[in-house]
Symmetry: C2
Subunit: 390 residues, 2 copies
């Protein structure tokens, strides 16, 4: 098992028919969640923000194809109805069922489709690889591949599945993550761990504030493997969340290249993250990467407008392909110049031809660091989002 079903107590099922998909994930345990900060939120988010106060779930139902947003009281009733439908499959009370949706905004749910799909897959709920794969595929929208991650530690396991084309497309690209562990932890511990891990993973693929109406991440602990060291659990959770976040960035709509921005020697982790997110979210940086151009001027210019105070004349900009690193500009001096340093520029240009580009910015004004992930901006992105009609 390489995903959620490797976690003791977790079983699943999923179905995808055209744009309409449904996933059922059964897992009794202490549960917490984090939600989008957008003022406009989906009906299931409104419902779950309240119900998750219970801190307990027996299972989660997720549909793709309709985001159930801007659907008013009808939408809220539909979200509750989904919990009732799933409660029968999980043989529990509707209040113990989590619900999430992703898809188009401003359409009323086709509850009959949900009910029908749920009835058909309920008997298939199982704890095998096929089941977890079906669940991961069922929640996809514009995703090109299902996303899953796992981290096995002595004594417990953390695993999750996610969907999303990243906040490169907040409307279609809602991010959903369902994470499980068989470690035993309190609601407070889980909430603290999930909040920190989300900040360092899912929120780092997101251009600041650019959260969709449906974003949410659920974390359920079945506790079947007993108590775990909290620090060790947090590390495992962060590893899983970062893996899922990177997969979301890699699958960005129309993406041809994966970008990792590493900001080092910043005054604080937040400052480092703000700069990293500004750079990875800059349309000019994205198009430069697409054009395979080591355009460090765009990198440093984006960093300069992140709202973080640093001295550009002390900063350095480098790119790396994972193995080698080339310093493009440092402390006010250009080190990859077609006249003075043609070989460095040539090296940088060849690196930009890779599928994974790492941009490193050294602010030289502190000791904190942060990573952010994204993808390039291509004609394909414009095509996908320009041609897509509500």
């Amino acid at each position: 098992m390489n995903s959620i079903c490797a976690v003791k107590g977790v079983s699943a099922a999923g179905i995808k028919e055209g744009k309409f998909g449904l996933a059922l994930i059964k897992a009794k345990g202490t549960a917490v969640a984090v939600f989008t900060k957008n003022l406009l939120v989906a009906a299931p988010v409104i419902l779950m923000r309240e119900r998750m106060n219970n801190g307990y779930l027996d299972g989660i139902i997720v549909n793709s194809g309709n985001a159930n947003v801007y659907t008013g009281t009808q939408g809220l009733a539909d979200a509750k109805k989904m919990c009732e439908i799933a409660a029968l499959a999980f043989n529990t009370a509707p209040e113990r069922v989590g619900v999430a949706s992703t898809g188009v905004i401003g359409r009323f749910m086709h509850i009959d489709i949900i009910e029908n799909q749920c009835k058909r897959i309920a008997p298939e709920i199982a704890g095998d690889e096929k089941a977890e794969e079906n669940a991961a595929k069922a929640i996809m929208t514009t995703d090109l591949f299902p996303k899953s991650a796992i981290c096995k530690k002595p004594g417990f396991t953390v695993a999750g599945i996610a969907k999303g084309s990243g906040m490169i497309a907040p409307n279609m690209g809602t991010m959903l993550a369902f994470i499980y562990t068989d470690a035993e932890l309190s609601k407070e511990e889980l909430q603290k761990a999930l909040t920190v891990a989300t900040e360092r993973s899912f929120n780092r693929v997101v251009v600041d504030g650019d959260t969709s109406t449906n974003d949410c991440a659920f974390l359920t602990a079945t506790g079947l493997c007993g108590k775990a060291d909290f620090k060790e659990f947090c590390e495992a959770l962060e590893e899983v969340c970062i893996s899922l976040a990177k997969q979301i960035a890699e699958d960005g709509e129309g993406a041809s290249k994966f970008i990792e921005v590493s900001v080092v020697n910043a005054p604080s982790e937040k400052d480092a993250a703000d700069v990293a997110k500004t750079v990875v979210g800059s349309p000019l940086v994205k198009t430069a990467v697409y054009g395979e151009d080591p355009n460090w001027g765009r990198f440093i210019a984006a960093a300069g407008r992140a709202g973080v105070l640093f001295d550009p004349n002390h900063a350095s900009v480098s790119i790396s392909d994972g193995d080698e690193t080339v310093v493009l500009a440092s402390r006010g001096e250009i080190l990859a110049d077609d006249k003075k340093y043609p070989s460095a520029l040539a090296k940088a240009k060849s690196m930009m031809q890779g599928k994974k580009i790492k941009i490193i910015i050294d602010l030289d004004c502190g000791s904190e660091s942060a990573l952010a992930w994204g993808c390039d901006l291509t004609e394909k992105y414009v095509e996908i989002n320009g041609k897509y009609t509500t």
Copy 2:
């Protein structure tokens, strides 16, 4: 005269040879300026931020083709040298000359080209239409057309020229504006007027904080027409700045449509502006406009993440072609739906086929309003910025 040379005391000259352009604008008077807030600033910006404290200019020299950014002490010396070169043409002291640059980042200036071009056009400095047009054309980079505006009031005139493809492309798209009036005003009055007008014009084409390394706007008052009513002057200045700002948005790189976002009934003008700028800057809104899709879900979702507190269930979203207006969604109800209101949706879709799209968002939580301007996001933008190599 339809631009700066209509202002008493203003004469100009300009030349454009390939990517290298030079403009000279001669005008003795009280002068102020506003500059980019980017931490990484061009050498001429560093120089002028200090020199403008004098509050007086005899003329301005502007080059296109090289932004003189990240060029260290050499760059600062080159900026000063440009003032010296122009001082000869204006027959004044270098300290009384303004300088601005636009073009590529991280290249040293070819001062010989500047000096040569200046010597050739100095004798051509004149107060006619050809001269103001040459100056407006000389400062263009990726601009597709020269930008100028004028507002004649009883007793005085305000006029300006600008360049910029908008902050859609902060690196290549530096925004420069040179505004003149023959009204007589104090340095303090001019600074106050320019700061307010900039906030309501140039800063409304800019996605928040997304300012380039070279952005600046200069305002010079020759005072040859004597004192003017300050309020009346501010209105005229704002009219000129807004006209220039709209031209910059219209000329956005790869743009096929012009977008105006009007946010009304907001708690404050800043709140209204923040929402308007977030919506007009959203890649999903831009691509929806390009795709001629009245995708109000994207409009309201973008508004919801602007960091301004309002109730989406009380807000309304409309689009207009200038003549008619169609309400797409209001107070939680969808009013342009393919089932319930097919005619409204059809009307909205036909409006989206126009060249100028107006999106109106009513927050219903105050009485303040603001406008923001932008353009759609097309494959052409990606091509321009992806293929452009430093």
